[in-house]
């Protein structure tokens, strides 16, 4: 935060998990103090430990805690925070919350409520994009409220759009409240499920439908805009490796994007951002068809889960930029200065069980050892000993690698995944490794249907050597390796689970 004085000094992070940790780290680097909020099940979570102070949010449900706007504004007031960073998910794309924050005299680190509202409502976003000359997905816009009396309207709209189609939560994201319908007879049940999921996840059950484009790639553009009219894009991210519309692996640059497409898509994204007077970091998502044509999907008016791959390849810290822009500083970067350095890939490590249809898994993280080394970054909100419950999103960590080119980035990621040790909770780490090694991913020729249409046996690794595993487990039991206390070991830090690390120890007493 060089240059101008910052009009805020203490940031409340209205989130949890890895993004809360990420924002707290960035805030500290910017010289800001941070306030965490936490619900009962997060009392001992990493983000609370890292913050300078924390405020307890009372209640058993998300609605009464992380989605409780007035409690969070009250927490900011009582702790003297003069800015709120919403992270992603939760309240990050609630225009009314952004509004309430600003009108309480607290700086909102995000775009205006007008921008959130316009882009957040996928229907109004579509019309605005059509007006602004940004290409949109072929289909029909059908606003629908939750409730059985709208089924008739839904059916006739569906007939117009044609099958297969996609029902999407108007307020949605992350695959929640989204359903594909290939046959008319499934329309009603899928609609009801989508509306229900949307109400639970976003507090808004409104859904709309659009044509489901097959064999397209998901490519998105990161934009960055200041409050002085400066607007640039930071190239694309390819998030085509998805499972049921949930991103699994993201990379930059996209293997399918040429410099011509990049330039055109970047321009369209900046146009989209400018059309709502966007300020801050945002993402404009496109579907890229195999013929090189692209269509506006939606704009995410927040920091994205996959933002690190852009940071790795452009060298720009996006969360830091969010603070600077919110403080009224100009971007200080011109479009022609944006670099594209090497290749970066992010893999999302989920607590889920690929052998049981990716159902969420729970348990205690008995061992949690993250990989490290040149070009390896781990963004995570958990540590060894933490419990994984069904209360929150199952994403445990993001593993991000950076290397000179795509091939070496894939090798680096696979190697890092192989030394990512998670015991006690089933994860998708093997599945990630198997996906990476699939010919289609290696050659960069995947589309958003890849994971859902690939035979699961193609994504299963080699059969393990079971005899050896039994031999190891039986021996470990005989050696009493379950008794916890090991012989002659370094003391483990009660809070972090890390072994006595000189830097950590120094950090506590350093002047």
């Amino acid at each position: 935060m060089s240059g101008a004085p910052t009009p805020f000094s203490k940031v409340l992070v209205a989130n949890r998990g890895e993004i809360a940790v990420r924002v707290i780290q960035a805030a500290r680097e910017a010289g800001l103090s941070c306030v965490a909020v936490f619900s009962d099940s997060d009392r001992t979570s990493l983000h609370v430990e890292m913050a300078d102070e924390s405020v307890f949010l009372e209640g058993d449900t998300l609605e009464s805690t992380y989605l409780n706007g007035s409690a969070i504004i009250e927490a900011a007031r009582s702790s003297g925070a003069d800015a709120i960073h919403p992270g992603y998910g939760f309240l990050s794309e609630r225009a009314d919350f952004a509004n309430a924050v600003e009108s309480s005299g607290i700086r909102w680190i995000g775009p205006s409520s007008h921008a959130i509202e316009t882009m957040g409502d996928k229907i109004s976003a579509r019309s605005l994009m059509i007006e602004s000359g940004v290409p949109v997905i072929p289909g029909d816009q059908v606003p629908m409220e939750e409730g059985a009396d709208h089924l008739g309207a839904l059916a006739s709209a569906a007939a117009k759009v044609g099958y297969p189609l996609l029902i999407k939560a108007s307020a949605g994201g992350g695959g929640k409240g989204m359903r594909a319908v290939s046959l008319p007879k499934n329309l009603r049940s899928e609609f009801e499920a989508a509306a229900r999921e949307a109400s639970t996840a976003f507090g808004d059950g409104t859904v709309y439908i659009e044509r489901l484009l097959k064999r397209a790639r998901h490519v998105e553009i990161q934009v960055l805009c200041d409050s002085h009219g400066g607007a640039i894009h930071l190239n694309e991210r390819d998030c085509s490796l998805q499972r049921r519309y949930q991103k699994v692996i993201e990379e930059a640059p996209s293997p399918a994007v040429t410099s011509t497409i990049r330039e055109a898509m970047g321009e369209a994204a900046v146009k989209a951002a400018k059309s709502v007077g966007y300020v801050g970091a945002g993402t404009v998502e496109f579907l890229l068809a195999s013929n090189g044509e692209f269509y506006f999907l939606e704009m995410n008016t927040r920091i994205q889960v996959e933002h690190p791959v852009t940071e790795m390849t452009t060298g720009i810290d996006l969360v830091q930029k969010q603070f600077e822009v919110a403080a009224g500083l100009p971007l200080g970067i011109l479009q022609q200065d944006v670099r594209q350095n090497g290749h970066s890939i992010e893999a999302r490590v989920y607590a889920e069980d690929p052998s049981r249809g990716f159902l969420p898994s729970i348990g205690d993280l008995a061992v949690w050892e993250t990989p490290s080394g040149p070009g390896i970054r781990v963004d995570s909100g958990v540590r060894q000993g933490d419990s994984v419950t069904i209360d929150f999103d199952p994403m445990l960590a993001k593993l991000i690698v950076h290397a000179p080119d795509r091939k070496s980035a894939i090798r680096r990621l696979d190697n890092a995944l192989s030394s990512f040790v998670v015991l006690g909770v089933r994860t998708n780490i093997d599945f990630l490794r198997n996906s990476l090694s699939h010919d289609s991913f290696q050659s960069g020729e995947i589309d958003t249907d890849f994971l859902d249409s690939t035979d699961p046996s193609d994504l299963r690794g080699e059969e393990p050597d079971k005899s050896m595993l039994v031999a190891i487990a039986a021996s470990a039991q005989r050696l009493g390796m379950d008794r916890g206390q090991a012989v002659g070991t370094e003391p483990s830090d009660d809070h972090t689970g890390h072994l006595g690390d000189p830097f950590r120890t120094l950090g506590r007493t350093f002047p």
Partner: protein, 165 residues
């Protein structure tokens, strides 16, 4: 004492010898039949949860942890679960009962007791981590018993529905 792998029937048994803080695996059986095995020995590294596994002249590092009856082993870049069974213990799974594949809340019950269902029919919807999961009939039959109603929380492995032929 027997060992098995998740969702797999076969039972393993190992004979061990201990010497100098090292455990040697002298023989291994699968469902009673001897399995050929290279020479394997395991020793604890003294560091919590770390062991050295010597297999046929090579040594490898393994991370090991236990939760309940499950032993977790991370070796060669992958994590595995091996389940311990006390001697004589029998599988408790009842014929035709459908277990919760995850902990969560019952969102919908689409069937009634006594109703006939076909294979793949949608019986229940569970919700966890804000996502919905359908419980489908694994085989055709008659619903003998429904153990949970809408809104109830279920633990992983609880019997949800019993289906009779």
């Amino acid at each position: 004492m027997d060992w098995s792998f998740p969702d797999q029937e076969e039972r393993y048994r190992a004979s061990l010898q201990e010497s100098d803080g090292k455990v040697l695996v002298s023989s291994l059986t699968r469902d009673g039949a001897e399995v050929p095995l290279p020479e394997i020995s395991v020793e604890s590294d003294g560091k919590k949860g770390m062991a050295t596994v010597n297999v046929g002249g090579y040594s490898k590092k393994a991370h090991i942890a236990r939760s309940g009856d499950t032993w977790w082993v991370h070796i060669d870049g992958r994590a595995h679960e091996i389940i311990f069974h006390e001697q004589g213990s029998q599988s408790t799974s009842k014929e035709g009962s459908l277990k919760a594949p995850m902990p969560g809340t019952v969102l919908q019950v689409m069937i009634k007791e006594g109703q006939r269902v076909r294979e793949g029919q949608h019986l229940m919807t569970l919700e966890a981590m804000k996502m919905e999961h359908k419980i489908l009939a694994p085989s055709p039959g008659e619903i003998a018993k429904i153990h949970f109603s809408e809104g109830e929380r279920v633990d992983m492995g609880s019997s949800l529905v019993e289906i009779e032929d």
